[in-house]
Symmetry: C2
Subunit: 295 residues, 2 copies
């Protein structure tokens, strides 16, 4: 596991007063009174933190005066057949890590507070939400856009740190924040990988040792495409076929392999320097995603 | 016309420095720096101001340290067959009135700035948006909820002043602000009426003198219902029939007459102290609305 050194280690450990906030009103009152001359960084997570999350925390620590991390397994972004109930959780371990990283505030609301009885409001980002992962997971990005609108209103950060592992999520949320005129900017951070290339994900926990090996096919397929592109292949249908063969050989079940414009997520036939490669693959019952710039 | 005395007339006229803001970034920068100890009141309007709007401005002036009025004919809340292009506009006249009322800021953005090319994000309030006016005007409350989410993010008011003339709009927006955790509270203000009872509306301008007379049937039907209720009639089907007869006699074409729970907007069979009466009626080609508490 890539260990990223916690930043901001000027303050001695004993002075670390990380506060845990459960109540929405407490979070609201706190953020309404953020000091104007201090920048606030926000890392929204679903917990079960790994080095990917921690890289976002480290980035926020470096760039901002205050860092808020939320831990909330958002029911609204899970489909009825999905893994809401089995999604891994370990709050104690998460808190421990965040304390080491000298996070200022951990926001840990309950689902009942976030979606009380009579909850009715949804934020939808057209077009971008219905392709790729949105095609396989109807309602997923509606749930993501809605919870982030809520969290941004509660935390009022200047910057929100998000990993490119969830590339489509970055695009959807950048669009949502810009369209609705939220004064919060997303800082996209690179994917953090295991030494063998597997992109960090809380869902990697679902993999048994055989599947863990097979799961390498995602990053390998991306690498293969990048190599072929460097060698001159630009036709995405050709590249897709070769990636597909590699994945199928590893017994991965392909949800999608897509070559898209990096901003609009519209499919492209020929690779350019604006092309992003994205894929979703089932390894056993576990659905994994990964992506990279084509060039 | 009911003339409401402008409040806050401590400052002499010459010191009135009402600022007009066109640019979204200017509005954002201004509101990011609102002084913490000053309360900000916001009156969103589509312009062509009448005594109804001005009563909201007066209320904001009384209750808040700063008042922002927006003038924006929001294309997103008009259906393709509706009156977006003919909706009355008179910016000079509006400014004059707002200056008299010593408004601090007038926010007057363009549609191109509010909905630039590539705009994709919509805020939907389920259930409440699809009944009553929402049934006749599909997409209307989606447009309303979206533009208010945007305006609230740009203006960051403590209080938003809204007239009960648009009763369903009040309910939809209160739900939206609460669900999405916006730190802005709606202050509902009573309907302002012409001396003969017609509820103030920019669309009253569409009425010719014959229609202007017929338009009284809306407030008269509400009065009739209130009288019958006072006399002991609680069955809404009976009340509806009598209101309907009155309106039809005045050559009004009924869109709906509804007796609903004042919070959920669900229809009720018997009147209680939580019942609201709402109606929408076409007078000629002009669709008018009105409402009142049943008791």
């Amino acid at each position: 596991m890539n260990i990223i050194a916690p930043a901001r280690n000027k303050i001695p450990d004993s002075a670390n007063n990380m506060q845990i906030i459960n109540d929405l009103r407490d979070m609201q009152n706190l953020s309404l009174n953020w000091e104007r001359d201090k920048s606030v960084g926000f890392v929204p997570t679903m917990g079960y933190l790994h080095a990917g999350h921690l890289s976002l925390v480290a980035k926020s620590n470096l760039q901002c005066d205050l860092t808020v991390v939320s831990i909330f397994v958002n029911p609204a972004q899970f489909g009825p057949q999905e893994d809401l109930n089995t999604y891994p959780r370990d709050f104690e371990h998460d808190l421990n890590l965040l304390q080491q990283y000298k996070v200022d505030y951990v926001f840990f609301p309950s689902a009942e507070m976030m979606y009380p009885a009579g909850y009715l409001t949804w934020v939808e980002v057209d077009k971008l939400s219905s392709v790729l992962c949105g095609a396989s997971r109807p309602g997923h990005f509606r749930g993501v856009a809605t919870v982030i609108a809520k969290l941004v209103n509660l935390v009022k950060p200047n910057y929100m740190f998000m990993g490119e592992k969830d590339y489509q999520q970055c695009i959807v949320l950048e669009t949502m924040l810009r369209d609705l005129n939220f004064p919060t900017e997303i800082v996209r951070c690179p994917i953090i990988r295991e030494p063998d290339g597997l992109a960090m994900s809380s869902r990697n926990k679902y993999l048994n040792s055989d599947e863990r090996q097979k799961a390498l096919c995602l990053s390998q397929a991306l690498k293969l495409a990048q190599t072929l592109i460097k060698e001159g292949e630009k036709e995405t249908s050709v590249l897709q076929k070769k990636m597909s063969a590699l994945i199928t050989q590893a017994e991965g079940r392909i949800d999608y392999i897509a070559f898209v414009d990096r901003d609009t997520l519209q499919p492209v036939n020929a690779v350019t320097d604006k092309t992003r490669i994205l894929l979703a693959v089932y390894i056993g019952k576990t659905r994994l995603i990964d992506n990279c710039a084509a060039v």
